[in-house]
């Protein structure tokens, strides 16, 4: 069963075709990696999925419902969460509050005038938030200002925020970029554990082949806005088109 069905999606920025007739099908409860050189259109594709960009052509269906034209918060409420390439967190709030917000959003919807009760009286939510912080080893940083975290911690926090919503589809845009090897391995373990313990589909954009081959069950290779190859990771490795795409493009540091 495919949970995400991207059909004939194109997106132009002026003269540049950032996405050119993209067709991708993501199976439910799998890890699907999208790889490709810089500028291939991977982030643009995610922007289309989460409602930040409206494609010029094509359709996107999540679990049988079209996502085109929906607002970002509506798409999230349907069960799609996103981790950004540069972490998007609530910088001037505490780590703890950063986790509370998605939990409230999940329970109360896009808006609720919930202004008399004290946050700490929301026992369920408080408990879930603390549990989530323990799960990602950030409990002792609970009172810190999120902006003062290290880059790796910011990513982990953002991931924890998304996971706390128990999304059905989690989109990750280069989750290990700029991480040290040890942190990368922790992230791989965390993602694998998430995948094994929950009903969740991961769509992950990644440069690091180590991450891709450790996690992905399916890989789409993109270049210049178009998917070139769509196959199992073991078949991708030696594929001539993939070699060409990577040699043709330039690698990121």
């Amino acid at each position: 069963m495919s949970i995400l069905e991207i059909k004939n999606v194109s997106k132009r920025f002026g003269g540049l075709k950032a996405l050119d007739d993209v067709n991708i099908s993501v199976k439910e409860n799998t890890v699907h990696a999208i790889i490709g050189p810089n500028g291939a259109g991977k982030s643009t594709l995610l922007n289309v999925l989460v409602g930040k960009l409206i494609p010029d052509e094509g359709s996107v269906e999540f679990d049988g419902n079209s996502l085109i034209g929906r607002k970002p918060h509506e798409i999230n409420q349907m069960g799609v969460s996103r981790v950004f390439q540069t972490p998007e967190i609530f910088g001037d709030m505490t780590v703890y509050e950063n986790i509370l917000i998605p939990l409230f959003a999940k329970r109360d919807g896009a808006f609720r005038l919930h202004c008399i009760e004290h946050v700490e009286d929301e026992k369920d939510i408080v408990e879930k938030a603390k549990k989530m912080l323990q799960d990602v080893n950030m409990y002792e940083k609970l009172g810190m200002r999120a902006a003062s975290l290290s880059r790796g911690d910011k990513r982990r926090l953002e991931m924890a925020m998304c996971l706390s919503q128990e999304p059905r589809l989690l989109l990750l845009d280069e989750p290990t970029a700029g991480m040290a090897r040890a942190d990368t391995n922790n992230t791989i373990d965390l993602l694998r554990e998430i995948r094994e313990t929950r009903d969740i589909t991961l769509a992950i954009i990644e440069h690091d082949m180590h991450v891709v081959f450790s996690l992905a069950e399916h890989v789409t290779v993109m270049a210049r806005g178009t998917p070139l190859v769509d196959d199992k990771p073991e078949n991708i490795k030696g594929h001539p088109k993939v070699q060409e795409a990577y040699l043709g493009g330039h690698k990121e540091g």
Binding site: N76, R82, L100, F104, A105, A110, S148
Partner: protein, 397 residues
């Protein structure tokens, strides 16, 4: 207690106690002393302290939490005032219907203004609110004269219908009251040289302010309050977390508009008259200054800021050159001349200069406002751990 955390309850009770004993605290100098002119414990000024306190508390819910800077909140103050005075003309001189109506009408007006202004953010939002307020001011002055009384404004007249009140005896003027207890009534207590005034109107306004402060603290600490701070922090992340920032911001805007309306209604309850100048843009700017001066986003900051500005406006502005010469009477004339020459620009009409300098110093050296100043002083005296609970959600390092 009261559903508040320990540090919040401490601050809240402190405000309550200070408000109750304000007639003593604000009159520290004996009546006959030269310093008596620095006493602020007279009804008119004390009423202004708490009413502008309410105005600033409400403004802080919008500006302090969401970061949206409105430059038009005086419009809601004015609308609240007009609503209240009409209740006094049509229904009763009892202040309750007027106060309720001022909140409701200001709230409705805020829905309309907020809905349109919040289509933009940043400076464009500020300009839109300013435009709305100036429009309201101009309309009140001109086209809407039948409702607003134009330049002369409105006040209760003997001939008003006042459907709920008994007819006034001949020669009796309509007076604002709370079930018969007149707002203007004062009790004086003379204690060997000191005179303390306890005014009914002040205590009515003070009770309303305390309730308003309590509600504000609840909002600050609620999930809704957290969402409002999220609006200020990162709207993009909010959207991708399934939250719609729009209704949150609009709700904050309307709540703060209702606080402004409440302040306007109370102004009428204390001093039964309204004019359009209440909506002028300088009045909108003043509440911004109050909030920043006291401490944006803190709980008591806005009240402190309102107090300081109203104190300077009413006390500092009354000091003139003659008074200065009186103070320096014992000094040689030439030195007194120099001192007066130096101080004079900062007093009387020059109080704006003093305010401007204080404001600049606060913004540059104490970005957290007077509250931050208080915390720093508190920390110097060794109360290192507790930071007044103002920032209890901030890092505990």
């Amino acid at each position: 207690m009261l559903g508040l955390s320990k540090s919040d309850i401490r601050i809240f009770l402190l405000v309550v106690v200070l408000t109750i004993f304000a007639p003593f605290i604000l009159n520290p100098f004996p009546e006959a002393s030269g310093l008596a002119q620095f006493n602020a414990g007279y009804p008119d000024l004390m009423q202004r302290f708490v009413i502008f306190g309410i105005f600033a508390i409400g403004f802080n819910i919008l500006f302090g939490l969401t970061g949206y800077l409105s430059f038009g909140h005086a419009a809601f103050l004015g609308v609240g005032s007009y609503a209240a005075i009409w209740m006094m003309k049509l229904l009763t001189m009892n202040v309750i219907p007027g106060i309720i109506m001022s909140v409701l009408i200001a709230g409705i007006f805020a829905v309309a203004v907020g809905y349109i202004s919040l289509k933009r953010t940043g400076i464009y939002f500020s300009i839109l609110t300013l435009a709305f307020a100036q429009m309201s001011f101009a309309l009140a002055y001109s086209v809407l004269t039948p409702i607003t009384g134009g330049e002369t404004g409105l006040q209760p007249k003997i001939s008003d219908p006042r459907m709920l009140d008994a007819a006034l005896a001949s020669g009796e003027a309509p007076r604002a009251n709370l079930f018969g207890l007149e707002m203007g009534t004062s009790y004086e207590l003379a204690l060997s040289g000191w005179v303390f005034t306890f005014n009914v109107g002040y205590y009515v306004a003070a009770i309303v302010m305390i309730i308003a402060l309590y509600i504000a603290i609840r909002i600050f600490r609620s999930p809704f309050g957290v969402m409002l701070r999220a609006v200020k922090s990162n709207q993009q992340r909010m959207r991708y977390t399934g939250l719609n920032p729009k209704p949150y911001t609009l709700a904050a805007f309307v709540i703060s508009g209702m606080y402004a309306g409440l302040a306007g209604g109370l102004m009428v309850a204390m001093d039964t008259q309204v004019g359009p100048e209440r909506m002028f843009w300088t009045a909108s700017g003043e509440v911004v200054l109050m909030t920043i001066l006291g401490g944006t986003g803190t709980i008591v900051g806005p009240i402190l800021g309102a107090g300081l500005i109203k104190y300077m406006e009413n006390i500092l502005s009354k000091i003139n050159a003659d008074i200065l010469y009186e103070w320096f009477a014992m000094l040689p004339d030439s030195i007194a001349d120099i001192l007066v020459f130096v101080i004079y620009p900062f007093i009387g009409k020059g109080w704006h200069l003093t305010l401007g300098i204080i404001f600049m110093c606060v913004v540059i050296f104490l970005p957290g406002g007077l509250v931050e100043g208080g915390q720093r002083i508190g920390n110097m005296f060794g109360r290192k751990k507790k930071t007044e609970g103002e920032k209890s959600s901030q890092p505990a390092e």
